[in-house]
Amino acid sequence: MPDFDAIVVGAGPAGSSAALVLARAGRKVCLVERGPFPGSKNMYGGVVYGRILDTLVPKWWEEAPIQRWVTRRATMIMTDTQALTIDYRTDAWAMPPHNGATAYRPDFDSWLADKAVAAGATLVCDTVAKGLLREGDRPDGAIVGVRTDRPDGDLTAPLVIACDGVNSFLAKEAGLYGAVDPANYTVGVKETLALPREVIEQRFNVRDRDGVDYEILGCTQGVPGGGFLYTNLDTVAVGVVLKVPALAKQSLRPEEIIARLKAHSAIAPLVEGGEVKEYSAHLIPEAGYDMIPELAADGMLVAGDAAALCLAAGIWLEGVNFAIGSGIAAGEAAAEALDRGDVSAAGLAGYRARLEGNFVMQDHKKLRQAAHVIMGERNQLHYPRIACNIAEGMFQVENPQPKPGLRRIVQREVRRSGLRIRDLARDARDAVRSFG
């Protein structure tokens, strides 16, 4: 007799969503978390998009431990001495049902895990799932549980849902991943800076619970990646996301790259005087659709970052919602498979079908090229400079000379960049195809 109907490994947003759905379906589910509490191992670049929670936790915005509602969403393109910002503000996002929110992951993930516990899931913290149990101990046997680092720590169930994060040793052990390519990963590094609430509100031009999220291109000292800056209630978070192999090949350390971003004239006045409350880092599965592993094995599903379902598509940077979306789908498909008594990979095919039927796989498919486009050398190094120079050309008054006109400014900057028209045309085409 197995201990549980299902074991969910990892009490992040994917795991807690899967456990919540299974518990509500009347299933006996164990949620295993290696940290002392859910979210204790988790950090991110700042924003939770909660729409996917609407059916799971109606009126979640009245109770979720969020910091601020994002009402200003800005994209900043910078060089060492210039910055061009598209800054969108709407009052609508300050009101229910809201759009994005900033939150501390230990707060948010604990809250969501509590929902699963309230629905009847058994949460076991301080416990690492060290490996998979196979039927009859055969290497090709169906997965029937996990080995943990507790004494007598085997946990058995006909179904394991691996939500064990970006490094997912369980998905790798199950053979769901091919060879791991370091180029598919970025590392996110962040400083959380303490500032008085009223100072944050003055500097960022917001009130009440309204907040700001900046995504930044051109701030990573030549290492492909990007930056971010967002507001919590009484802290701001600033950080960078860096492509792992490229970071390793140059000489600036991650915290030095953050220091240079903080020293930029467009950023320094916003973060000045903020005392580092916490420094943190986490790996990101950056390559999207092209790195998504097999999603099911006999007796196992994989969801969230463990399935590389984080969306890093330049202007859209989302992960928690994709984790929740895939966790819900995994929970539903698991409940269905358990009802039918078929938890083979084929019996679990409803999982992929669900993902393909909603935003999780459709967005990944649609934006398949986006991460590669954004990480390309021209997008990282040349286009921020061209864009900033064009803006400068437009707004700089060169009297007594007459205004050159936009077309001439663009022509001049393209020429100055030394880029080939052919490459520009190709990039424009790729951008339209990737984001269109």
């Binding site: 191992k41 301080d126 690492v128 590392v187 580092v276 943190s280």
Partner: protein, 134 residues
């Protein structure tokens, strides 16, 4: 493929023309001066930076580094990439590392180009990094 990089005939001439035009542009204020690279970051020592993080250190190391593999390594990807700066080159050519202040991100084993040099798993349950609640 050589066509794409080197180019011939018309394309090459076009490129040469463009390069010549670019180099003859007068220097203007548009060419942004590069700021002097900051040579130090007085805001926070690395030790103080890491002291902001809550680490519940496990009795056993969850990272194992194969000293022999590291001795022959000249590229040292782990040294610059690890956000916690856990890998420090030493005079005899080896790598000194500690596991206590590890974010458990996985960057080191991904960045490392020497097969088997870094063995990495999660620290014992309940131990390791604990990020802060608000």
């Amino acid at each position: 493929m050589s066509e794409r990089r080197g180019g011939t005939g018309m394309l090459r001439r076009l490129r040469e023309k463009r390069a010549a035009a670019a180099s003859s542009l007068p220097p203007t204020a548009h060419r942004a001066p590069r700021p002097a690279a900051p040579t130090e970051y007085p805001e926070l020592s690395f030790e103080d930076r890491m002291a902001t993080v809550d680490f519940r250190v496990a009795p056993d190391a969850h990272i194992v580094v194969d000293g022999d593999a590291c001795n022959g390594c000249t590229t040292r990807e782990c040294v610059v990439a690890c956000p916690a700066n856990l890998f420090v080159p030493v005079a005899d050519g080896g790598i000194l590392f500690n596991y206590e202040q590890c974010f458990e991100c996985g960057t080191c084993y991904l960045a490392c180009n020497t097969a088997g040099a870094i063995s990495w798993s999660y620290p014992e349950g309940g131990h390791g990094v604990v990020f802060r609640r608000s």
